[in-house]
Symmetry: C2
Subunit: 325 residues, 2 copies
């Protein structure tokens, strides 16, 4: 179980290797939302997403012999890049199992960061099986994308920054909207804020049709998605919340927010024109919730974690087209 002390230790190990990303905002976005929106721009993190935190936290916690044997990860691309970057720095060979329909930029970047990429078909092949076989054959250590104590601790460091940055703005009370796949970031931030900003409440955000966490929070047990393909929000399409992450989410988070993916494109366009940042669809669901579904939010200030920006240009161009509508 990830503890506050583990997040604090991860924050120390991450120092100098991970960016303290800015908390942005715009009066134009506030006007649309009818409340103040503060955007934690994790798209500006190394590798273009918060996953660089968890990857670094996991590898920097390993002993030298483990690192030397190498690591394996499965990921649609953001965890892949986070692991690849941390592995290159720690001298660990990295094998990354990626869905063949991942955005091209994510596959290319993962390779360019020095990892070996193995592609699989997300619709018909079982990544756990392929990953398990590869790990055994090559004697590699598997770093799961969210169900890993150190990964959760690494993502939690983002919560420390949110607490500090909000405090500097004298914001105590806020709902904190987090794009949620398996729940590593959601649970990590929730743990960090429980200690450092206890009046804040984390709300997991998911696209319509992939609302496993929202439904799990309602039923009180881990629910699954029917599909894990078919959405532009590739970064957060996981089968279900994790066995490590869900108990934390259940204990600490407010109800999930479920948003049509078309709203993510509109949010990307507004992030472009108002914040001058690049978001990927799965990184913009939280902003979409704040901008277009404010009736489900209760605080005067809402903090939006913009989790990633690894988007292919054609999808981004599609988002820009919503500006003229």
């Amino acid at each position: 179980m990830t503890s506050l002390a583990m997040i604090e230790a991860a924050a120390t190990r991450l120092q100098g290797h991970i960016r303290r990303t800015p908390l942005l905002g715009s009066p134009f976005l506030d006007e649309i939302a009818g409340r103040r929106i503060l955007v934690k721009a994790e798209n500006l993190q190394h590798t273009g997403s918060f996953k660089a935190r968890g990857g670094w936290a996991a590898l920097s916690a390993m002993d030298k012999a483990t690192l030397k044997r190498g690591v394996i990860a499965y990921s649609s691309g953001n965890h892949a890049q986070g692991i690849a970057r941390a592995a290159a720095h720690h001298g660990a060979p990295a094998t990354i199992l990626m869905p063949s329909d991942s955005p091209r930029i994510k596959i290319e970047n993962t390779r360019a960061l020095g990892a070996e990429v193995v592609l699989y078909d997300r619709a018909v092949q079982d990544r756990e099986k392929i990953g398990g076989d590869l790990a055994r054959d090559r004697n590699l250590t598997l770093v799961k994308p969210f169900d890993n104590e150190q990964v959760i601790a690494g993502q939690g460091t983002c919560g420390f920054e949110i607490a500090d940055q909000a405090k500097a703005l004298r914001v105590e009370q806020a709902e904190v909207l987090v794009n949620c796949g398996g729940g590593g970031l959601t649970s990590g931030i929730a743990l960090a804020l429980e200690a450092r900003a206890p009046k804040m409440v984390v709300r997991p955000c998911e696209p319509v049709g992939y609302d496993d966490t929202a439904r799990s929070l309602i039923s009180g047990r881990i629910e699954c998605n029917e599909a894990t393909t078919g959405s532009i929000c590739d970064a957060i399409l996981t089968p279900s919340p994790g066995t490590l992450t869900f108990p934390i989410i259940k204990r600490l988070c407010g109800p999930g927010l479920v948003v049509p993916e078309a709203d993510a494109l509109r949010a990307m366009a507004l992030a472009f024109s108002r914040l001058k940042i690049v978001l990927e669809p799965g990184g913009a669901i939280s902003l979409a919730a704040a901008l277009f579904h404010g009736d489900q939010i209760s605080t005067d200030t809402v903090i939006v974690v913009a989790t990633g920006g690894n988007v292919d240009p054609c999808v981004f161009a599609q988002a820009l087209e919503t500006l003229d509508a």
Copy 2:
């Protein structure tokens, strides 16, 4: 003449009202450039450009009676927004004279920030004359976009941040590439670095055909551009360096870098894919110089000031198209 003390005083007045923008980088950009590139992301500044600094510095230095009468500014859009934002906060009515061919987003934002926008034809009308007439008729104080001591001091605060942030990365020696129109930012940063990072050298960057500052540095006196329209780099199309800014630039800066505007589009595309930030063409000339004209740069690390991100979606889409080439 802007002094170090004036920049220090401006930094104090700007505290809490202006963002400390991050210094970004990417191994992928370093590889293209063949050296380390650090990008000061002033596109993430309030109003989407560094001009928010100078606008705030100028208005916060005015007495109450002056503010109450109101201010006037002429600008292609970034100075306009900087002044409009500062004026709204200081309770000063703002009249902004803008070229009718300014990007739509800049005109709309300036209005939305509460200023009255007066449009003129940049090719045939003289903005100094129209501005002068309006100022006289309405008893307004003109805030020039660069030839104003307090504006230069405000832009100089960006140089203080660069000095601090580079020091934290143990970077002492670097050329600092600044997109240069009239030279307010260029001269302000040069003054700040002279005091705080004396081994750094500022290099003004301009698009081909609008290289008034580069030519002025060669001839030693103020040279003019033949045209101030016809480039996508609207933010930095000024007739000539200023009478206040040029002496500072001449004393402190290295030779100008002159870059084809098509390279700015390629740099915007790489800033999109590698840094996850939105730059406008006139805000990306410096990055283009670092990426594609490195033969003219002599330091191992180059600091690029990415000055603004106020770009219409159609121009941005055009930049993205260069990625598939």
